[in-house]
């Protein structure tokens, strides 16, 4: 143990286990939370996905969607939407975050950070309406552009489409990226750059050899967060398109709420598909995070 090597008094095994017990006790509320809201629902979902909703018999039938091209369209749409929103959100968000960090004005930094916190949480039906009023068929911006000779709808743009949804999702994805990238950008020490310059590195060499390797991990893990965020979002998309753009979360809701397509077993199977994608994203983020915190903590 490293503590004994650096000279800290060694705890007796009994005291250590007592402390361990107390620590475990302190973790209990968290464990209950995770158990009740993550583990139990996941198990219930997985269980339900292998059982027929009507008869309760064990079945693989709920996963038949994997073999139907039409039933995979929601997955394709969701993937396109999430990738698009993630790309737009992370690139623009990173540039803004860097601009905030580089800004010498304390006021600009504070205003930008506060705005980002607010905007990152502005989602759902109100956001959908805000965009309808701005970029809908007869939205303010659409009409303004049309009056000036630019007809965005004539050019094939539609707010009620995957492309439209990407723009809407970017509204909260960009500030979210700003918020999560500010700490690592601020943690970049001026002394690293000075050290590199003293050793004769050019600006480009500093970026390539020092800044990018350190920032790559927080950046990629932030992208994964954005991606998972976009993949699971429901209310905004539904408020905007009332189901016309088929997405996985909307499809799940149809199967559990709809009067017509009611089939909770199949909804469970779709949710498991969604959960697998989410787990890969979040797991990937956790792996990368472990690498980057090693650097940034110093």
């Amino acid at each position: 143990m490293s503590s004994s090597l650096t000279g800290t008094p060694v705890a007796s095994p009994a005291a250590a286990s007592r402390r361990g017990g107390r620590a475990a006790l302190a973790l209990l509320p968290f464990a209950i939370l995770i158990g009740a809201f993550l583990l139990v629902p996941t198990v219930v979902l997985a269980w339900g996905s292998f059982h027929d909703s009507a008869t309760g018999a064990l079945t693989l039938g709920n996963y038949s969607y994997l073999g139907h091209p039409l039933d995979l369209v929601p997955f394709v749409n969701s993937l396109e939407l999430s990738l698009g929103a993630t790309f737009l959100g992370s690139v623009v968000g990173l540039l803004i975050a860097q601009a905030i960090v580089s800004s010498r004005s304390q006021l600009v930094q504070e205003i930008a950070t506060t705005f980002s916190s607010v905007a990152a949480n502005f989602a759902g039906v109100p956001l959908a309406f805000a965009f309808i009023a701005t970029m809908g068929n007869s939205g303010l911006l659409t009409v303004l552009l049309r009056n000036n000779g630019v007809d965005i709808y004539g050019g094939g743009f539609k707010l009620y489409s995957v492309v439209g949804l990407i723009i809407v999702y970017a509204y909260w994805e960009i500030p979210l990226m700003v918020l999560v990238m500010l700490p690592p950008l601020r943690a970049m020490k001026a002394s690293w750059r000075e050290a590199a310059e003293n050793l004769g590195a050019s600006r480009w060499q500093y970026l390539r050899r020092v800044a990018v390797p350190i920032l790559a991990t927080p950046f990629i893990s932030s992208m994964l967060l954005l991606y998972a965020n976009a993949f699971g979002a429901y209310a905004t998309a539904y408020g905007l398109t009332t189901g016309f753009v088929a997405l996985v979360p909307i499809q799940i809701s149809n199967l559990i709420n709809g009067d017509i397509a009611y089939d909770p077993g199949q909804a469970d199977a779709l949710a498991v598909g969604l959960a697998v994608i989410m787990a890969v994203c979040i797991g990937g983020r956790a792996l990368l995070e472990r690498r980057s915190t090693r650097w940034l903590a110093r």
Partner: protein, 398 residues
């Protein structure tokens, strides 16, 4: 036979009445108390009246003796408990006011259960036993009968009501309906929209909307189904409606923006396919900004009715029956029409010239409504929903 004691009691009452042992009022009260319907009572009374001395000053100032008896029986119960009848819906407030003005009997349940959905209404009837009357969607009316939650009662206007709009045994009766209509923003749409094919016009890019996801919302479900009527299908076949919507989608005319009040008024949806009563209400709400016109497709559309039920265990059975008498009366039916719901006796009132000209002027023409088909067959509704569930995926995913 279960009816034997009732028949015996009718004989007894008739005998007592014709021989002058009881007066007319007590005779009628006795008949009402047996749970007879008004037409039946009228027949009995007419048969006995020739022999009896006419009584004076029947309460309720009604010319109809049986109705007068029902009124006094309802007044004696002193209350009407309703479920799922919201005052702001189809002008029910006007009918509540009329009820209070005519009979001065309190109406309970409005604040607690007034906003109940049809399913909640049936739950309340089953579990609390409080409600006397409810206003439910047609499939729930049928369900109430099969579950034994409603009681049979045939109102005095029974003959006016189309056979498809009433239960043969009297367990439910449709009181009003809405038909799918075109709600057109005439400031933005310069071509006349009279029939389904007009919606395919190239000038209507991203302009045509329905009210929600048809696999979830009744309004848009009926919009798709009604499109079948104008395109070679109908009540028995929704598929041409789905195909037509797909055609609209391929033409780029169908918008995903929901045909909500906000989106219609803002011009986001320029032609909405939705219930006529909702369209007429949004027209009034917009008040010329923009100008909105509501029309019924000339090749026809579908209508979905609401039905009234009397609870099987109504604590105030006579008040419940009196409520039925009221809502089918000319006065209340016109109040529904004022609330833009299409009253079930519309044709009767119309051919008798009882619809005020100023009210008629606010509505699509009565002739267009002749092409509207009332959908009351629950089996066909389920079949259409199943077809739509599979077909709609193609419309949105292709």
């Amino acid at each position: 036979m279960a009816n034997d004691p009732i028949l015996a009691r009718i004989d007894e009452l008739s005998g007592a009445f014709t021989t002058g042992q009881i007066d007319r009022r007590r005779f009628l009260k006795g008949l009402v108390g047996l749970g007879l319907t008004l037409p039946a009572i009228n027949v009995i009374v007419a048969a006995c009246s020739s022999a009896a001395t006419p009584s004076q000053g029947v309460a309720g100032a009604s010319a109809d003796p049986a109705l007068a008896a029902l009124i006094s029986a309802a007044k004696a119960e002193g209350d009407l408990y309703q479920t799922g009848i919201p005052p702001e819906w189809v002008n029910y407030q006007g009918i509540f006011d009329l009820w209070k003005q005519l009979y001065n009997i309190p109406i309970d349940g409005t604040s607690t259960e007034g906003e109940y959905s049809s399913g909640q209404e049936l739950d309340s009837i089953k579990n609390t036993g409080k409600p006397d009357v409810g206003d439910v969607g047609i499939s729930f009316a049928v369900q109430a009968k099969t579950q034994g939650l409603s009681a049979p009662y045939k109102n005095s206007f029974w003959a006016d009501i189309p056979d498809t709009a009433k239960d043969a045994d009297g367990y439910w009766c449709c009181n009003y309906w809405g038909a799918q209509s075109f709600v057109v923003n005439t400031d933005a749409v310069k071509i006349p929209i009279n029939d389904w094919k007009d919606l395919l016009d190239p000038s209507l890019k991203n302009a045509v909307g329905i009210d929600g996801d048809p696999t979830k919302a009744n309004d848009s479900f009926f919009a798709v189904w009604s499109a079948a009527v104008g395109n070679g299908g109908g009540v028995d076949n929704i598929q041409p409606g789905i195909d037509f919507m797909n055609q609209l989608q391929q033409a780029g005319n169908l918008t995903a923006a929901r045909a909500s009040d906000t989106n219609i008024i803002s011009g986001e949806v320029k032609v909405a396919i939705k219930w006529d009563y909702l369209g007429l209400a949004v027209r009034d709400k917009a008040a010329g900004a923009p100008n909105i016109s509501v029309t019924i497709p000339s090749s026809g559309s579908l209508a979905s009715p609401y039905a009234d039920i009397v609870a099987a265990k109504a604590p105030h059975p006579n008040a419940a029956k009196l409520w039925q008498e009221l809502i089918y009366s000319d006065a209340a039916q016109l109040l529904f029409l004022k609330g833009y719901a299409h009253p079930i006796r519309f044709d009767v009132l119309n051919s008798a010239g009882k619809i005020p000209a100023d009210l008629a002027a606010k509505l699509p023409s009565a002739d267009l409504y002749k092409k509207v088909t009332l959908v009351t067959d629950v089996g066909k509704i389920t079949a259409a929903q199943t077809t739509l569930g599979n077909g709609w995926k193609i419309v949105i995913n292709s």
